[in-house]
Symmetry: C2
Subunit: 318 residues, 2 copies
Amino acid sequence: MTDLPVRIEITEEGPREGFQIEKGPIATADKIALIDALSAAHPPRMQIVSFVSPKLVPGWADAEAVAAGFTPRPGIAYTALWFNAQGLSRALAFRDRLSITGSITFAASEAFSRKNLNRGHAEQMAAQRALIATCRSAGVPVERIALQAAFGCNYAGDVEVAQAMAVLEDAMALAAEEGCAITKVTLADTMGWADPLHIERLVGAVRERWPNLAVALHLHDTRGLGIANALAGLRMGVAMFDAAVGGLGGCPFAGQPGAPGNIATEELVFLAHEMGIETGIDLDALLEAAALAERIVGRRLPSNLLHGGSLTRFRKAA
Amino acid sequence: MTDLPVRIEITEEGPREGFQIEKGPIATADKIALIDALSAAHPPRMQIVSFVSPKLVPGWADAEAVAAGFTPRPGIAYTALWFNAQGLSRALAFRDRLSITGSITFAASEAFSRKNLNRGHAEQMAAQRALIATCRSAGVPVERIALQAAFGCNYAGDVEVAQAMAVLEDAMALAAEEGCAITKVTLADTMGWADPLHIERLVGAVRERWPNLAVALHLHDTRGLGIANALAGLRMGVAMFDAAVGGLGGCPFAGQPGAPGNIATEELVFLAHEMGIETGIDLDALLEAAALAERIVGRRLPSNLLHGGSLTRFRKAA
């Protein structure tokens, strides 16, 4: 148990990733209300908006209005997602409100790369090289590599550790060639294929190969193992996690409509706190934000803690 | 990882525990249909019926009809729940179809003992002594101790390991006085208070005190940590678990209507299989039974795997 971290850093992704699979458009005011409610729980980082083509993702046509409308709270790094020069330049217009750092993205499965990124691995290498150049000219450091479908893929099946490592080798080599100081790699279980032993194997391989790199886990709870996989990560000393309030979200390109989404932030926070690991997050304020998220989407969200409730009131009464 | 069991024995409790918190009466034919659908997945053990007072639990007024109506499959031990001489005599009428063994039950929290068992610990000791005598005269061996609220209690707060162990000491002493050869102790997280470290502490304490006793975990997913807690148990070598198809169930005396129920059998089976641990259960047949359970209760059940689907079809297509 000695590898358990003392403190973990959770990036709240509900406002950005959370609504992308919802059917109806989510009102701009509701997006802003959720961000502000989440700010009251003070997560250290929150990804709040996506500067993508309104043609491809109509739900983010209001990215500017959201970025301008929320109320920033001191001590929270608000971040945005973008995939190209145009998106970056839209994000940079909010440099006073957003924390802008670059990252490059690959998929461990060629099939998913084509589905989600619209390019195979070779083309994605070229595109990411161009993205690094764009960041460089804007003075934005590229510090992170994100690996999608790192454990498995609905289109290509299981992803072996060697395959994920080969894609990461390419990404690290590209970053080195381009002079980027990568400090963090995010392993994303985009379609819910990971199990605790697979987490251990891949995290172990990354750590052995690049001992100075921080490993982050982006886990989905598609098949119910999300929190157990987070536990496996914690036991390996992983101290950075992405999560979405209420268990919002899911991958729109996974071919699984109706499947559960990201691990619920409040369940991860509860797991950590019960095990004596600090998160800096106010769990009860987070549960209020989760209840708001559920009202906004108008369907029962998958988070069990949201419906079971925290132990706070029971401990107070006892 | 060396403590991971090669094979685990899961007791399916959906048909018995599953419907006790549902609002409307569940039709006898539906109960039988679910048992038969579950039999197709061949779990090693299945608790299918509760011989309790129809006044206290009106939903089990049809216990005899269910016990007479399902189709037993070879290789599956079908069990029943009862709490007194009258219940046992009703169960014994189905000795040809049911596997009848005795167990004694305590709650680790005095407050929950009064709520759920209608007696404090001292009275429960007397009642369990009488139950052992009843079993003895019927030729039914008492082999198991079940400890409810073993990790915490909505009425009394956290339950420390020392407190749970003190109640177990009393139960073991009673069993020894009465000449019962206890082989198994079930630690029940009846109201969803456990976390992985607490599982380790209590399982470790029980194993140190009684090295020859098999430990079983009965986990609820009230707050989203159920499968992570099962993982913690697996790592301690725990090889017996209770679970309920679809995540049915929950404790009617926990004061938390609407809270999620037991851990979903299919998520536990999926966790085990992905980690290379055998269960003997056909996961896809189990998911069909889970879908039937959801149709019967007419609400979305908490199991994520039920909605995300297993990996079988993706692996076949890959």
